[in-house]
C-alpha cells in the first residue's frame, strides 16, 4: 500500500482523536471510578431566642424542651487516635435556645443502661460539646484542637460527676479511674480532689492529649436517664468570661460545634468515644 497524502491525513486525524479520547477517559478516571461527590453539608443546630431561663438546681426541665425542634447529629467511632472506641452511639439529638445572657444546649441519646458509678471495669456515661476558640478554625481542629492555633473549649458532662455534684453521693467504690486528672497541682494526698463546682468540666485543649481543666469553671449542666435515654442540659453565659479560654457566643452569630458521647457500658472512656463532624450552631 502506498502511503499518500489523504492516508497520512486520515491516520493523523484518527490517532489524534483516539489519543485525545484516551486522555479524556484517563482524566475522568484519574482518581479511580468517577462518582458524584455531594457538596459538604453540615448539620445545623439553631439556637432560637427565648426570654426563658432554666433553673438546673431543680431538674433538667424536660417539658420545656419538648416544643423546641431538634437536630439529629450522626456520630461515628473515634478511630483516629488509639485507643479506638469499641462501641458506637450512632447519633444524638441536640436542641438549643438562648436568652439575653445565657445559652442552653440539650442533648439526648439512646442508652440502654444508666452508668453513674465507677469501679473496676465500670465507666461513666458522658457527653461533651466542643467549640473552636478561633472563628476561622480549620476542620482539622475537630481532633481536639489539632492545628487550631487557639485550640478548643470542651464542655464535658459525665454521669458520675453529675451524681457527685447534684446528689452529693460518692460514685467510686475504691478507685477513680478516668483518664482526666486535672488537680495535680492542688494535690497533697494521692487521691485528693477539689470540691466540685459543676456537673460539667469546662476544659481546654490544643491537640490530642492536652485536655486541661480551666482555672475558672463556667459551665453548668444536669442530666437525667429516663426510659433508655439520656437527657443532658448545658448552660453557660453567652459572653465569654475570658476570650482566650471560653467559646464566645452572641445573638445572630454562627459557631462551629461538635459532639462526643460515651457509653460506659460499652467500655467507653477517654478517647474511646463516638464523635460527630462539625455542626453549625446558629443563633437566631
Amino acid at each position: 500500500m502506498k502511503i499518500t497524502k489523504p492516508i497520512v491525513i486520515a491516520i493523523t486525524l484518527v490517532l489524534t482523536i483516539a489519543f485525545v479520547a484516551l486522555v479524556y477517559f484517563g482524566m475522568t478516571r484519574a482518581r479511580g471510578a468517577p462518582v458524584a461527590v455531594p457538596p459538604l453539608q453540615r448539620a445545623t443546630l439553631v439556637s432560637h431566642y427565648k426570654t426563658q431561663s432554666l433553673d438546673l438546681t431543680q431538674d433538667v426541665a424536660l417539658a420545656d424542651w419538648a416544643d423546641i425542634p431538634g437536630t439529629a447529629v450522626e456520630l461515628v467511632y473515634q478511630a483516629m487516635i488509639p485507643p479506638w472506641s469499641k462501641g458506637l452511639i450512632p447519633a444524638v439529638t441536640a436542641k438549643s435556645f438562648h436568652n439575653d445572657t445565657e445559652l442552653y444546649v440539650y442533648v439526648t441519646w439512646k442508652d440502654e443502661s444508666e452508668n453513674r458509678a465507677l469501679g473496676v471495669g465500670e465507666f461513666s456515661d458522658a457527653v461533651a460539646l466542643m467549640f473552636p476558640l478561633s472563628n476561622d478554625a480549620p476542620p482539622s481542629t475537630l481532633m481536639m484542637g489539632f492545628m487550631g492555633k487557639q485550640g478548643v473549649n470542651v464542655w464535658h458532662w459525665q454521669a458520675t460527676q453529675d451524681t457527685e455534684f447534684w446528689s452529693k453521693k460518692s460514685v467510686s467504690a475504691d478507685a477513680y479511674s478516668d483518664f482526666l486528672y486535672p488537680f495535680e497541682e492542688q494535690e497533697t494526698l494521692t487521691i485528693a480532689k477539689s470540691p466540685l463546682t459543676s456537673a460539667v468540666s469546662d476544659l481546654l485543649a490544643v491537640k490530642v492529649t492536652t485536655t486541661t481543666a480551666k482555672a475558672t469553671q463556667n459551665v453548668q449542666g444536669r442530666g437525667v436517664w429516663d426510659k433508655g435515654a439520656w437527657h443532658v442540659v448545658f448552660k453557660r453565659a453567652l459572653k465569654a468570661t475570658n476570650a482566650k479560654e471560653d467559646a464566645a457566643f452572641a445573638h445572630g452569630a454562627r459557631k462551629l460545634m461538635a459532639f462526643a458521647a460515651w457509653s460506659g457500658d460499652k467500655g467507653d472512656r477517654g478517647g474511646r468515644k463516638s464523635i460527630s463532624d462539625w455542626v453549625q450552631l446558629e443563633f437566631r
Binding site: 479506638w84 469499641k86 481532633m143
Partner: protein
C-alpha cells in the same frame, strides 16, 4: 530451512504491545476476582470517598478484602465492629485484610487518618449477609 525472521519480529512486536496490554489487564481482572472477596479503593471524600461505598461479603466464610489507596495522601481502614484495622495505608500502597465475619448486618468502616477537610465523611458500609 531458512528461518523467516520478519514474521518473528512482527509477532514479537504484537506480543509486546497489544497482547501485553490485554494480557495484563485480563490477568489482573481474573486475579482480583479469584483472590479477593471484595475490593475497596481509598480516596479522600472530595475525590470520591471509599469506592464502592458499600461492599457485601458472605456470612461465615473467610473474607479477603483488597484495599488500594490510589490517593496522594495516607488513609487508614478501621472496621470497629470486627476489631479490624490497618492503621495507615500510604499513598499508592495497598493492604489486604482477612477475617471471617461471625455476625450479619451492616457495619460502618472509616478512614483512620485525618486525610482531608472532609475526613469525617470518609466512611462506608460493609454488609454481611
Amino acid at each position: 530451512m531458512k528461518i523467516k525472521n520478519e514474521p518473528i519480529a512482527v509477532a514479537m512486536l504484537i506480543l509486546g504491545t497489544i497482547v501485553a496490554i490485554i494480557g495484563i489487564l485480563g490477568f489482573e481482572n481474573y486475579r482480583r476476582s479469584a483472590e479477593y472477596t471484595a475490593e475497596l479503593t481509598a480516596r479522600a471524600t472530595e475525590y470520591g470517598n471509599w469506592y464502592p461505598n458499600t461492599i457485601t461479603i458472605p456470612y461465615g466464610k473467610p473474607a479477603k478484602i483488597l484495599i488500594r489507596n490510589i490517593d496522594v495522601v495516607s488513609h487508614g481502614f478501621a472496621l470497629p465492629d470486627f476489631q479490624i484495622a490497618v492503621m495507615e495505608i500510604k499513598a499508592g500502597e495497598s493492604a489486604v485484610i482477612e477475617f471471617t465475619p461471625d455476625k450479619k448486618g451492616v457495619f460502618p468502616f472509616v478512614c483512620t487518618i485525618w486525610c482531608s477537610n472532609r475526613h469525617m465523611e470518609m466512611r462506608g458500609q460493609l454488609v454481611v449477609e
